[in-house]
Subunit: 209 residues, 2 copies
């Protein structure tokens, strides 16, 4: 389907619009012009209108967008109007930080189980999520179905863990390990690269004085 071709950076902007609309809604706002919304998001308004026009027609000329209406619509486009169930692979520092990251369940992303190979971690419960041995993955997924696997293992284990997720019919992988994951075309992999944030900071910092 044509929508599948939409580049990652457009989807990134949609997610950014959703975050900004959520913030405006919390501030009690109801309506916004495309110019103001674009400014709040740090994009130009032609870009904003173009992004939204991919997915249909919104907004009323001269009035602007209904904030709750547009947010609801963007969430439907993103697929975040529903809940997604996830398994966490690797309960080290990053994994535990993710289990405790309150924004995820708030936005519908819920861990049903965590997995590790460290006997000291197995059996512990973090933020209501039980840590199993990685060997128990198939069994746990039968009891607690999930669609997303989050990889927070060391780089050396990431491919093996990804293969295991794929064998177990997980179709979406979010990879925090600093390594590229090989995967069949019917599996979606998003790679997290935290260093991009540091680059952005350096850019603005360099221009500060």
């Amino acid at each position: 389907m044509a929508e599948f071709k939409i580049p990652g950076i457009t989807v990134y902007r949609l997610a950014l619009y959703a975050r900004t609309l959520e913030k405006l809604l919390e501030e009690g706002r109801d309506l916004i012009s495309s110019e103001e919304l674009a400014r709040e998001c740090g994009v130009n308004s032609a870009q904003l209108r173009k992004d939204l026009s991919y997915f249909g027609q919104f907004g009323v000329r001269g009035v602007g967008y209904s904030i709750p209406g547009l947010l609801k619509h963007i969430r439907r486009i993103l697929g975040t109007e529903r809940e997604w169930f996830m398994v966490l692979m690797g309960a080290g520092h990053l994994g535990q930080a993710l289990l405790n990251y309150e924004f995820l369940p708030k936005r519908g992303f819920k861990f049903v189980a965590a997995f590790d190979v460290d006997e000291e971690k197995i059996g512990r419960v973090i933020n209501d999520v039980y840590i199993y041995h990685v060997n128990q993955l198939s069994w746990v997924l039968r009891e607690h179905p999930a669609e997303i696997g989050v990889i927070a293992t060391p780089a050396s284990a990431a491919q093996e863990v990804a293969d295991l997720l794929i064998e177990n019919k997980i179709k979406g992988i979010l990879n925090f390990a600093p390594v590229r994951i090989k995967h069949p075309p019917n599996v979606v992999v998003e790679n997290s690269d935290l260093t991009i944030l540091f680059d952005k900071l350096a850019f603005y910092l360099k221009r500060l004085d």
Copy 2:
């Protein structure tokens, strides 16, 4: 200066181009057309050329870009051709994951010290970085100057810690706490929002079948 107005999303793309060029360089590539580079980055080639034209003229018509040349240039634009020294505020799970994140020092972002209030953590050394009590910040910064403060505390402590960094002349803050930081205009704050990654994954996953 005019460059300072450049929107965050353009800088994000520059960082993305840098990552892609690094990958191509590792693969032994030397030259690339703007079309191929754009495709590798998931943007359109008009966008790529426009982004780069902000900062001068590169590439040779009909030949394309020199990968090492363009990478060097983008690093200079981003300010990542040099080293940046950082302090970490909060040595919990996320903080410790950042101390162990090998890509940061590799790209010139180096922690000189970490700070916490938990007596059990103070005095420990993680990946060669010593954990001090937060009260020792001024003293440590005199010994080990730093320009960037990374906040990895709970949301409830983030503003207080940011104020402390700002008092101590830190001009760049990367905030991983899920809360907005108030700051004077001569301080740059970048907020990390990990949920955007999960949104992107949901978008593609929804369209998979």
